[in-house]
Point group: C2
Chain length 239, copies 2
Amino acid sequence: MENSNVPLNDIYAPEKRIYVATDCIIFGFDKGILKLLVFERRVEPLKGKLSLIGSFVKPNESAYNAANRVLNEITGLDKIFLEELKTYSNTDRDPGARCISIAHYALIRIDDYDKELVAKHDAIWYEVDKLPSLVLDHDLMVEDALNRLRRKARFYPIGFELLPKKFTIPQFQTLYEAIFQKKLDTRNFRKKLMSLKLLIPLNEKDKSASKKGAFLYKFDYKKYKRLEQQGYNFSLFKN
Amino acid sequence: MENSNVPLNDIYAPEKRIYVATDCIIFGFDKGILKLLVFERRVEPLKGKLSLIGSFVKPNESAYNAANRVLNEITGLDKIFLEELKTYSNTDRDPGARCISIAHYALIRIDDYDKELVAKHDAIWYEVDKLPSLVLDHDLMVEDALNRLRRKARFYPIGFELLPKKFTIPQFQTLYEAIFQKKLDTRNFRKKLMSLKLLIPLNEKDKSASKKGAFLYKFDYKKYKRLEQQGYNFSLFKN
DNA sequence: TCAAAAGTGTTGCCGGTACACCCATGG
DNA sequence: CCATGGGTGTACCGGCAACACTTTTGA
């Protein structure tokens, strides 16, 4: 708004209050499958119904901070990938009150989070394509978040946000196949990923998935951030 | 939020109220220059200061509707390009009150709008790169909107939203040069634009800019929308 | 007749895509 | 010794970028 330093009752509308909340679409990747963290209500109202995890935005925090707080309460994680998705503000979206939600989406490493915390909050990981219907407009939020994730993953190598800190190229590829729901060519994917020069090779192999074992890498986050600020083009596919 | 059908005082936080507003970053294109519509305060407080045009979101409208209403009040225009940009919700962004703003950006044809309405609202078109500092966090909003416009224009031929209904190829190119702030190659630009097959040639010339005159075209909006839904790739440049 | 903008093709290069086989190893 | 997944190279093709001259016409 364009004003400030004026008494509230002067320019700030005395209209009916609008509540401000945030909801988080939390993606994880586990055993080759893309998952979503949702929350099952164990009490009335809407007992047994699934919903995204959210909260009101408190007076002393930004919407981003609110989303971050929610995420931290449930997963114990901090400083993870968290971005604003969009705002949902239809007047009839929440029959309980006039309430808008500033949705955020997050990418987390499933093996990092505190499993006890997750369980304690009645949160459950669902496979993205087996997710039942959620309350309110949360299905729409999930759909929008998936589209956003796909666009983002096409142009940025954000896959690493969902993988363990040490990961293999085949893991990375499996993740991308899960996101885009199609098979990718091993050689081309590898070539492209390597050409970004953002993976630091480790002298270690992960033998959990094969007898031969695959080399582990870690992501050069600092270099990535530097290039990103220079507007570097990371796109992993054209189509 | 995850709840509904419960008394307000039950789950809806009784915390200090957060006000919900929207601000519009309105782009126009006139005489080869990219412009922004801002609003000059003629009364205290902040007399003479420039600000974006905004409003509180009313209880009976969505944020998008609020932005649309604001735009309509000032320009008389309806059904124009209008998209959510992002939400600004830092606790200290508005010293007058705890207020968040769901910013939207709009692209309008300057020759279409009602000049009287604009003048009556103390609104002024400023060249984008000569824009003075605005109040609150509005400078940041403008910067974000410009980046968004550039990204959007790189992947979608949205230029037509800013041009008159009948326009010439050189006009289109000048607009893109204004957006990206660099010269583009005439032949390549034309070739690429034509290859999209979204321009309908008219048997008319516009001689206002040259003696030879340039052919006029109109945009095939329906075909564009159809292709857009199919996920067609419109990108006008790679870099 | 000239100034000023409109319009037009070709070529090289880079990057995307398609495609099939050998390697290493644990069981 | 074999089944399983890891890892590698090449050839074609389309699209991007670079580049200069002719056309039209009002003044």
